[in-house]
Subunit: 197 residues, 2 copies
DNA sequence: GTCTATACTGCGATAGAC
DNA sequence: GTCTATCGCAGTATAGAC
């Protein structure tokens, strides 16, 4: 029992090591410019071992995607538990995304920039993924309880979160002069003003 | 003279044929999933002929990029000539982009969705490209002449154009229920309200 | 489970006839 | 200028020892 638990911890550690390297390389050079030998070199894990833990290169990309979709969902769930009002929830989600972008830019680069459809056959576009669906649900619930004025659900979601996501993209592209966090106040006040009831 | 002019027309025709096929294939499957044989098959132009007109596969992607950057710049220039006020210019630019998206979705898919940095070594991110710079200049000039209230230039540009670009992305991803044009009125009125002086 | 060595495939690019 | 045939190689995935 103790042994098998140690084994599974090791097993997970190798997987995480490979995923961490894949995240770094995919975010920096893209999926297609990253070869298995690249991952071998960067992670220190051998080809054979990688193929023992993952069925193929695509499987690595999928596991990585799932890992960070889950990470973003957790982030949103935590905020939904801590805050009741849609206004606070939206604001804190944006702050959390900004913070994630500055602390782990590669996560956001892989999740937002990568065209997953090009290599993951049956993945939905990122904006249809669970975390983004839930962000829209937060906005819709704000419309139901009267915090946000009645309007098309897509439009209100874009008004609330679209600007923040664009700034994250700008930051990842390196075209912002100031750090991301300095844009928050102006961004949030105009975003919220455009939708509040 | 007549002959050389015919020749150069033919020369251009072959180039355009190849570029049209490349646009179709790159937009649909991405640059890396499109092989030279794919382009040969789709365009009906032979491998040898393609390599006679283009130095390599990357050169095709660059020519395609330049062609449509120029197309978008022309579109903006025309609008700047026809309209004086920043409000009208911004509105017409969005309408033109919507119209282009519905009439030539592959152009917008290639220009907005493709991660050109992954294969074009020294290209700037699309949002730093000339057409997008000029869109921001239109907004800045609106701030100077008092149509748009004073605020960070990046923020005002995102407020004006960010929502429209997000909706274009949604449309290309196929997650909108209604045709793109039906979102314009609601989108434009909230976008302009958020920046007008 | 992890390693090295290698088999196999498909692509980008070229050669050379016409 | 256009074509067919083919070279060379990079990269995925496997085989098989340890």
């Amino acid at each position: 029992m103790a042994e098998s638990s140690v084994m599974s911890v090791r097993r997970l550690q190798v997987r995480e090591t490979v995923l961490d390297s894949a995240l770094y390389l995919f975010a920096q050079k893209g999926y297609f410019n990253t070869s298995i030998p690249d991952i071998v070199h960067h992670s220190g894990v051998s080809t054979g071992s990688i193929y023992h833990h993952f069925s193929d290169k695509l499987d690595i990309a999928c596991a990585l995607y799932d890992r960070h979709v889950a990470q973003m969902e957790t982030l949103i769930s935590d905020i939904e538990q801590r805050y009741e009002q849609a206004e606070a929830r939206c604001r804190e989600i944006i702050l959390a995304l900004f913070s994630l972008t500055e602390k782990e830019p590669m996560v956001m680069a892989y999740m937002l920039h990568g065209r997953h459809q090009d290599f993951m056959p049956d993945v939905t576009p990122i904006c249809s993924s669970r975390p983004f669906q839930r962000m829209r649900e937060v906005v819709v619930s704000g419309m139901r309880n009267g915090e946000i004025r009645q309007m098309d659900a897509m439009l209100s979601s874009v008004c609330v979160f679209g600007g923040a996501l664009k700034f994250i993209q700008f930051h990842l592209d390196g075209i912002l002069e100031k750090p991301l966090s300095e844009y928050f106040d102006g961004l949030w006040s105009t975003a919220w003003a455009s939708v509040r009831a």
